[in-house]
């Protein structure tokens, strides 16, 4: 080229333009970086869901990786595709992250075939988080329906690790059938050791089921709620959190004290591909965690 154009080499950008932030959004070169991560363990949960423990191979990056409860990562299986998955492990847990993944499409199906030692790609973390720090000295309602327990497990573990900061903690969890219950091996621990009031309910009971039968709102009706001293986090299908939030609103909990996590299609996680757009809001940037007031103002959100 002549002296007219000095080609601009993006790969020669300064290593970082700003201090490193938790999701590297200020590092131009690394915006699209995928961390190679090893599956260190696969824990079957139900017929459809497995819990994957992933460890970033690069030691320095592993050390640097941090996230907040409610955030998600993009998981890539080279040759198959990339999907957004919310993180299910505790943010204070260093070394590896846990992702609860349901077999639903091309990428998740191949992931379900993967064994220990397989290497996948990780990007992120992305999105907003549940403002646990704001919820201190309050009662906390953690409500999940179905697969909603996967994103809810990060705030649950976060609350358990800081149990003294909170007053009464309730976990309400509902699924369609009892064999769809996730993380059932941990209920005892949450209930007894962490002093959490855990209630599980299923819609259709099979003969072996001895617990409650009904909808998640049935559990709520039995509860006494102190509206101005309670925060609620609700994860589940839109139809479920719509009813739950309506009920909580009736009980007097202000809409900005209820938090939900929305699901949308995503191809980038960085506010570029538009696929997660709700009206004009990017779920990947302004969400996936929204307070209920914001959700009510997003047309087509639920």
């Amino acid at each position: 080229m002549t002296n007219l154009f000095h080609p601009y080499y993006i790969t020669q950008e300064a290593e970082m333009t700003q201090p490193l932030d938790y999701n590297r959004r200020s590092r131009l070169k690394h915006v699209d970086q995928v961390f190679r991560s090893e599956i260190i363990n696969v824990i079957p949960l139900t017929d459809m869901e497995k819990l994957f423990q992933l460890r970033i191979l690069d030691e320095a990056e592993r050390e640097r990786f941090s996230f907040l409860p409610g955030q998600f990562v993009m998981v890539e299986v080279p040759g198959y595709g990339e999907i957004p998955i919310s993180i299910s492990s505790s943010p204070s847990h260093k070394g590896y992250i846990e992702l609860c993944i349901r077999k639903a499409g091309v990428v998740t199906s191949i992931l379900h075939k993967a064994n220990r030692g397989a290497v996948v790609g990780l990007r992120g973390p992305f999105g907003t988080h549940f403002p646990i720090e704001k919820m201190r000295r309050n009662n906390i309602l953690l409500i999940a329906g179905g697969l909603g327990l996967a994103p809810l497990r990060a705030p649950i573990l976060n609350v358990i690790e800081n149990r003294t900061d909170f007053k009464d903690v309730h976990i309400l969890y509902g699924t369609r059938q009892s064999d769809m219950l996730l993380f059932s091996y941990q209920y005892e621990e949450w209930n007894r050791i962490a002093d959490i009031n855990l209630r599980v309910i299923v819609e259709q009971a099979d003969p072996t089921w001895t617990g409650s039968v009904g909808l998640i709102t049935d559990l709520l009706k039995e509860m006494r709620i102190e509206p101005m001293q309670t925060y609620a986090i609700i994860c589940g299908p839109p139809v479920m959190f719509k009813f739950v939030c309506a009920h909580l609103q009736q009980e007097g909990i202000p809409m900005d004290r209820m938090f939900v996590s929305l699901e949308r299609r995503m191809h980038c996680g960085m506010g570029k591909c538009c696929r997660c757009n709700i009206g004009s809001t990017y779920t990947c940037l302004s969400g996936p965690v929204f307070d209920y007031w914001t959700v009510m103002n997003l047309k087509e959100a639920i």
Binding site: M1, T2, N3, L4, F5, H6, P7, Y8, Y9, I10, T11, R25, S26, L28, K29, V31, D32, V34, R36, E76, V77, P78, G79, Y80, G81, E82, I83, R102, A104, G105, T108, G117, A118, V119, G121, E263, R264, R265, H267, C268, M270, G271, K272, C273, C274, R275, N277, I278, G279, S280, T281, L285, K299, E300
Partner: protein, 346 residues
């Protein structure tokens, strides 16, 4: 901004200079349509004669040189159980000559999304910074409503911007490399007469636009969210996505991965998408957040005239009317906006 005057002959020399060792993209006539009207497209040119700076508009915008319809984001090579990734950014310099104000404004809007503080896109920035842009003033194109959305004037985002003064060009210089490039040919300082002629041309262009009321759209769209107008137009929509393909500002995309036949490599491929496609918002398990055409069409307008305004204080639409021209069902922004305004009045 600095201004220079260069004769038409010198401009030809300037193009020759660019052509020497840079890829030059310019409007080229590629055919005539059924009505005998010329069809132009931004394509690589080999010599000055191919360039048609008098073009009215192009069917496709020039966005493909910044956001290719299909682009490899990265490739993976598999080595046993591990894999290695390679990312290549396009850095070859390129010049685009003859962009109209709307198309340069479109790039400025894309800059806000793709080259802003939040997750800047290295793919886009690499192409953008390595592209030399020469814009040109023109009389309004048929159907264009760029003035109403404030996209008929451009003050930055280019290297050179030309205004045709008959026998000479009035050139606005907006970058150091634009200044250096012009030094390759003979130019002179503008005189009072040049300035007068320039302002006269600007006035002539500005007076030819038909006004379209858009300033109240962000508010109107909220109020008319359930309007029948959307169904009326969506009933004609065939969800072909052409509007998004020709749009100079539509940037949405999908990513998929492909493996080579011998399983040795895979590619992560980005392909521009359209919010009018049926599966645009379908999530795992089959739930579709926008299953009907009405919702999809509405959200296209919602994003352009409300959402983008909320985020950046200006609409995403630049009023180039390409979507209206390409639509097989005659769905076009001015008519839809007019319908909304009429319903609002009633």
């Amino acid at each position: 901004m600095l201004f220079k005057i260069l004769s038409k002959e010198e401009f030809r020399n300037f193009i020759d200079f660019l052509l020497k060792d840079t890829e030059v993209i310019a409007p080229k006539q590629i055919n005539v349509n059924a009505d005998g009207k010329a069809i132009y497209q931004f394509l690589p040119v080999q010599n000055f004669e191919e360039i048609r700076l008098d073009y009215e508009t192009t069917d496709y915008s020039a966005k493909t040189y910044f956001l290719p319809y299909k682009e490899d984001l990265s490739s993976c090579s598999f080595l046993g159980t591990i894999w290695d990734r390679e990312i290549k950014y396009r850095i070859q310099p390129r010049a685009i000559v003859g962009l109209h104000a709307c198309d340069i404004n479109a790039l400025l809007k894309l800059d806000k999304v793709l080259a802003g503080d939040r997750f800047p896109s290295p793919y886009y920035i690499s192409r953008r910074k390595n592209t030399f842009i020469v814009g040109i003033d023109h009389d309004p194109c048929e159907g264009g409503f760029c003035q109403s959305v404030g996209a008929d004037v451009v003050t930055h985002g280019f290297d050179l911007y030309l205004t045709d003064l008959g026998d000479r060009y009035f050139a606005a210089i907006n970058s150091n490399r634009g200044f250096n490039a012009l030094q390759q040919v003979k130019t002179r300082e503008p005189t009072a007469r040049d300035n007068n002629d320039y302002l006269e041309v600007r006035r002539r262009i500005a007076s030819q636009f038909k006004p379209l009321e858009v300033h109240n759209l962000p508010n109107l769209m909220d109020i008319e969210f359930e309007s029948k107008v959307w169904k009326k137009w969506a009933d004609k929509c065939m969800s072909c996505g052409s509007c998004a393909m020709v749009c100079p500002t539509c940037y949405c995309y999908g990513v998929e991965e492909r493996i080579t036949m011998n399983n040795a490599k895979s590619a992560k491929i980005k392909q521009l998408y359209s919010c009018q496609f049926l599966d645009f918002a379908t999530v795992a398990g089959g739930l579709n957040f926008r299953p009907d055409r009405e919702t999809r069409l509405k959200y296209r307008y919602y994003h352009q005239h409300r959402g983008f305004v909320e985020a950046y204080e200006e609409p995403l639409c630049v009023g180039c009317y390409r979507c209206g021209r390409v639509c097989l069902a005659d769905i076009n922004p001015p008519d839809i906006i007019q319908d909304l305004q009429t319903e609002y009045q009633e």
